[in-house]
């Protein structure tokens, strides 16, 4: 993408040193489902090029926040900025700036891995030559080159996840949203995935915004953390700051200290219930 006046890179200070710029900015964001307030006036900012973990118990409002940031759900109030763009008024422009891996799979099972990537590249208007080069490079990055022309329905959960991450990068987004990218994956695959993502962050200055329920994972990879509970931000800071502030040894203990020990009851929307059933089905096989 060409640099526009909105582009955060313009904010480079004359000396050549880059000032820390924010790429994600949320102010007073609210989402109500009927009377229920899923996201309750949250505000925070994420700096460019960092790995940001968005943590919280089940039903806290993480996915809902990500959906609003990525233009698939309209907020009930508040404002957002992604790479300087307001996704509410300029959704098409904002969508070019981010890549996303949703909590639930979004691949087309009846297409091959390559076809899924190709379709993505075309939808994002990546010219043919670059598209082919990037797809080849990304597939090899996630170790799927040999399976490029197999139908996705033959893939394991880990392979699908890797493919989704690779696909989200075909258009070179500035921001990468990952909603529970490693849930249900074995430790090998998880490590592999985080290795890729960290490399990406370092090499291309991609900002990573992710959620997870694995606290040791967040502690290991995140530069900054925000914790959300019942739709409200209850704490923010680096992993070290959070453990220090709560006087705990690990992030997991800090998390429990901040969000309590209760198990969250939540009522799933019909479509989520269906997905859950599907997951149970899959798991049984």
């Amino acid at each position: 993408m060409k640099a526009t006046p909105r582009d955060p890179q313009i904010l480079t200070v004359p000396g050549g040193e880059r000032a820390a710029t924010t790429v994600i900015e949320i102010a007073g964001l609210v989402k109500k489902f009927g009377d229920f307030v899923a996201v309750d006036h949250i505000s925070f900012a994420v700096e460019e090029g960092i790995v940001f973990a968005f943590l919280g118990p089940n039903g806290a409002g993480k996915t809902t926040t990500i959906k609003m940031l990525t233009t698939v759900l309209s907020p009930s109030g508040g404002s957002m900025r992604l790479a300087g763009i307001d996704p509410l008024s300029e959704p098409l422009l904002a969508r070019r700036a981010f890549g996303i891996v949703f909590q639930d799979p979004t691949l087309d099972d009846e297409l091959t891995a390559f076809e899924n990537m190709e379709l993505h590249g075309i939808l994002y208007g990546v010219p043919r030559r670059e598209r082919r080069e990037r797809i080849a490079a990304l597939l090899s990055l996630v170790a799927l080159s040999e399976r490029a022309h197999d139908l996705v329905k033959k893939f394991s959960g880990g392979m699908r996840r890797r493919l989704e991450i690779a696909r989200a990068l075909v258009h070179r987004p500035k921001i990468l949203f990952l909603d529970e990218p490693t849930s249900g994956l074995d430790p090998q695959t998880r490590n592999q995935i985080w290795q890729y993502i960290r490399e990406l962050c370092r090499e291309r200055k991609v900002t990573v915004f992710f959620t997870t329920h694995y606290m040791e994972e967040a502690e290991r990879v995140a530069d900054r953390i925000a914790i959300i509970d019942h739709g409200r931000i209850v704490a923010q800071g680096s992993p070290q700051e959070l453990t220090r502030r709560t006087e705990q040894k690990t992030l997991e203990d800090a998390f429990i200290a901040l969000t309590g020990r209760d198990i969250r009851e939540e009522e799933a929307a019909p479509i989520d219930r269906m997905r859950m059933m599907r997951r149970v089905w899959r798991g049984r096989r």
Binding site: K67, T70, T71, V72, L73, S74, L92, L93, R95, R96, I100, F102, D104, P105, T106, L107, D108, D109, E110, L111, E115, E118, L119, H120, I122, L123, Y124, G125, L151, P270, I271, M274, R275, R278
Partner: protein
């Protein structure tokens, strides 16, 4: 536009990879053609109405298109459940682009299905009156396909899950088919039935296709074309409006 083309291509690939679906949706038209065509044929000609297979075939071709088209449109629900819809919703293309790609893809699939039924009708003894009118027949088949894919897309955008599907089949698609001129001529119908048939958009498709394939009153196809064209445009607009309201 490239985005429209790739979404169109996706539908075709999915169709060509699913033989079961292809064969499965031929069952019903085949059943109607054979049972009704040969079963009622003798009575039909004894009543002086001519050859029933010749009358029925355009109706059966339309049936093949209708079912496949509505189903292709409603497939949005699957894409929603299996998640792929999200991938298109976060892409930097307008909702109209997505709807057009899907609708054209679904319509092409339905058209192919219609051509297969057409071939089966030929095997069953159907004869085309004037091969020069075949392009007109294709145009009608495609318009029917596009109109009903658009209707399916509109329905699929409103429904949350597949539970409503039997409802739509039994209370919308089948009545559309039966209360049209697909199976019987409209001459001498009871008033109420005639009214229903002439309100039914499918009748205009069947009529146009029948004109193109059997050559009978050629003057009749322009109004058919106008009705179908206007309705198709309106339904495409409606379905992209409803589609744009989808939230996940």
């Amino acid at each position: 536009m490239k985005a429209v083309a790739i979404l169109w291509l996706r539908q075709l690939k999915r169709y060509s990879r699913s033989r079961v679906r292809m064969v499965g949706s031929l069952g019903q038209p085949l059943l109607f053609l054979l049972a009704l065509g040969f079963g009622l044929g003798p009575i039909f000609s004894r009543a002086g109405a001519g050859d029933y297979i010749e009358f029925l075939s355009p109706g059966i071709i339309t049936m093949g298109i209708l079912f496949t088209a509505v189903f292709s449109g409603i497939e949005i629900i699957w894409d929603r459940q299996f998640g792929f819809l999200k991938e298109t919703l976060v892409a930097p293309v307008s909702r109209l682009t997505i709807v057009l790609g899907r609708a054209l893809g679904g319509a092409t699939v339905a058209l192919i299905q219609g051509l297969i039924v057409f071939a089966i009708c030929l095997l069953a003894g159907f004869r085309v009156a004037d091969p020069r009118l075949l392009p007109l027949a294709l145009l009608f088949m495609f318009l029917i396909a596009l109109l009903f894919t658009a209707i399916g897309t509109a329905l699929g955008s409103v429904l949350e899950d597949m539970q409503g599907f039997p409802l739509i089949m039994n209370f919308f698609v089948l009545p559309l088919f039966f209360f049209s001129n697909a199976l019987f001529p409209i001459k001498g119908l009871p008033k109420a039935l005639l009214f229903a048939v002439s309100l039914n958009p499918l009748s205009y498709g069947v009529d146009g296709l029948r004109v193109a394939l059997t050559g009978s009153p050629l003057s009749g196809f322009l109004p058919d074309l106008a009705v179908l064209g206007v309705l198709t445009a309106a339904l495409l607009a409606l379905s992209s409006y409803l589609f744009s309201r989808i939230e996940l």
